[in-house]
Amino acid sequence: MQKKQNQKAWFLVLPVFLLVSFSAVIPLMTVVNYSVQDSFGNNEFYWVGTEWFIEILNSDRFHAALGRQLLFSGIILAVEIPLGIWIALRMPKKGWGASLCLVLMALPLLIPWNVVGTIWQIFAREDIGLLGHTLAAIGVDYNYTQSAVSAWITVIVMDVWHWTSLVVLLCYAGLSSIPDAFYQAAKIDGASKWAVFRYIQFPKMKRVLLIAVLLRFMDSFMIYTEPFVVTGGGPGNATTFLSIDLVKMAIGQFDLGPAAAFSLVYFLIVLLLSWIFYTVMTAHDEEKSS
């Protein structure tokens, strides 16, 4: 029997198709469009090919921002992942203590980015902030508007405060999936605390840990709001991360061409690094199943 041709299904895909077009494909193609053209206003565009890409990839400004960004994400991962695991391991497993801890842990995650920025901006101020003032009072040389080190510390501590909970909650979920029998068997086998972590808890946490690392890497690599609110990228360019630099270029200077090329390069870097993380962390599992 010959099948009757019926094209009605296309109408059913249409809403998703439109949604994805307007939310992703069209804006992305606009950016691609800008990245290969130059404009002197008047809505006139000239084809420039890969010129903007070559310029961005060779610019010291981009290299510096990229360097800062990599350092920032590196520190964030190095602090938040072990700290998150450590806290998750020490959280109570049941009873009211567990609920209390979960609520406390979830609180920072519920606060909007710009509010987090504002909280820390005020909290760390030397004149009126609780933290800044206290530090000044006990004689610590701390001022995030003038010292690059202070600014970095502030931004990192803020991010740790805001996002470590996410790692904690993910790890905690991984840990609570371990049946009691595993701990009991480990006790009978005479396993040390470290062995229990190494052979029971860590393997069970690995899957969620992968998600935590990916999320924290991507988010920290694309961080904008919090450092923008607290330091505005300063002092100098000390905390000008990629996204802050990009916004300065695109909206501050209105260099649409270079900014578009910048965005695409930025996007590809995030994609590439995420892929590397994912590949490295799942390599072990694949080896096992093959």
Partner: protein, 356 residues
């Protein structure tokens, strides 16, 4: 090697137990003989696992002492007791090979590699794992994983008791039989004390020299499978062991006669005057014969091939009788013959012996 003595053990999971109901495990005094094979049988939530965890040291009892031989180990932690435990769900270390799993308890105890290798090879050969030592443990089937769990107990030469907490729950039926025979064989070979928790009576009865039946936190009977079948010490044992379970009937007992409604049932022993409060008689369906008469009504007959179960109504009670396959089952009204020697009397659920 030593016997395990539980001295007046009781355990409660609440901090300040006041009523007997607060106790998951009520007063218990029992000696587990060295090298014995025990089955711990009872319904879910009767305290079997609690008792097991007290022996292995995962729990410290609220009251009483645990003695290994003459040594008091009540407060000693699990790693330092000569005990291994196999759990309901197989516990293996996913990231290790089979060899890694078997080595683990020995490495934790700081043995040298040569000694570890020798011991692991020996145990692996015994469990039939030699070929698979290099395999990743996480890829194995549930029964192989359970064997590895057991192996981790066996490699330790100090172990003199292995506790099993319903170890065959997740095993395929046809593998169950295989594993059970393997366990029996190992038990004969090593002579360790074996305590085996289960709620499956067939498993308990085929496996153990002695069966410990628990009910609501109490040990109600300890005995050989035969004793449990023939003289249940508690109505629960009668009901739990055997299929169908014992018929338990409220009755008034005087001398050598039990009265249920209008029916008089002869007993083999003189019980004196027991009255009627909390008195029950019990008889297994196997020992109940159908005769001519009109004592009871046949409700249904279940033909199980080798025998038939006859469901009857007798003086308002539902009872069962077991007949051999070839026997014809009358319908309607029948008479009942109670085997006096097999008709037991219970007071407050506990077996009572007659006056003489």
């Amino acid at each position: 090697m030593a016997e395990i003595h539980l001295k007046n053990i009781a355990h409660s999971y609440t901090a300040t137990p006041t009523t007997p109901e607060d106790y998951a495990l009520k007063a218990l005094d029992h000696v587990w003989e060295d090298g014995g094979a025990y089955a711990l049988l009872g319904p879910s939530g009767c305290g079997k696992t609690t008792l097991l965890n007290i022996i292995s040291g995962l729990l410290t009892p609220s009251k009483g002492q645990v003695l290994f031989g003459d040594e008091d180990v009540t407060t000693r932690d699990t790693a330092h007791r000569n005990i291994a435990q196999v759990f309901q769900f197989p516990v293996i270390y996913d990231t290790m090979t089979v060899r890694g799993n078997l080595e683990f308890p020995l490495k934790n105890r700081g043995l040298n590699q040569t000694a570890i290798d020798a011991r692991v090879e020996e145990i692996a050969a015994m469990l039939g794992l030699t070929e698979r030592l290099q395999e990743r443990a996480s890829n194995l089937s549930a029964d192989a994983k359970q064997i590895i769990s057991l192996g981790r107990g066996l490699v330790r030469s100090d172990v003199n008791a292995i506790l099993f907490d319903e170890p065959l729950t997740v095993i395929d039926p046809h593998k169950k039989w295989e594993l059970r025979s393997k366990l029996k064989e190992l038990h004969r070979q090593f002579g360790f004390t074996m305590v085996y928790v289960t709620h499956d009576q067939t498993e308990a009865l085929t496996f153990a020299d002695k069966v410990v039946v628990m009910y609501e936190g109490e040990v109600v009977q300890i005995g050989t499978p035969e004793e449990l079948f023939e003289t249940p010490a508690h109505t629960f044992v009668g009901y739990f062991i055997g299929s169908p379970g014992m018929n338990i009937l409220r009755a008034t007992v005087e001398g050598r006669t039990a009265t249920i409604g209008k029916s008089k049932i002869p007993l083999s022993i003189d019980y004196g005057i027991l009255g009627s409060s909390g008195i029950e008689i019990g008889i297994r369906p196997e020992f109940l014969k159908l005769t001519e008469g009109d004592m009871a009504t046949v409700n249904a007959v279940e033909d199980l091939g080798r025998h038939k179960i006859v469901r009857l109504t007798f003086e308002g009670h539902n009872i069962a009788a077991l007949l051999p396959e070839c026997e014809n089952v009358p319908t309607g009204s029948v008479g009942l013959a109670f085997d006096p020697a097999r008709t037991l009397v219970y007071a407050d659920s506990h077996l009572t012996k007659g006056a003489n």
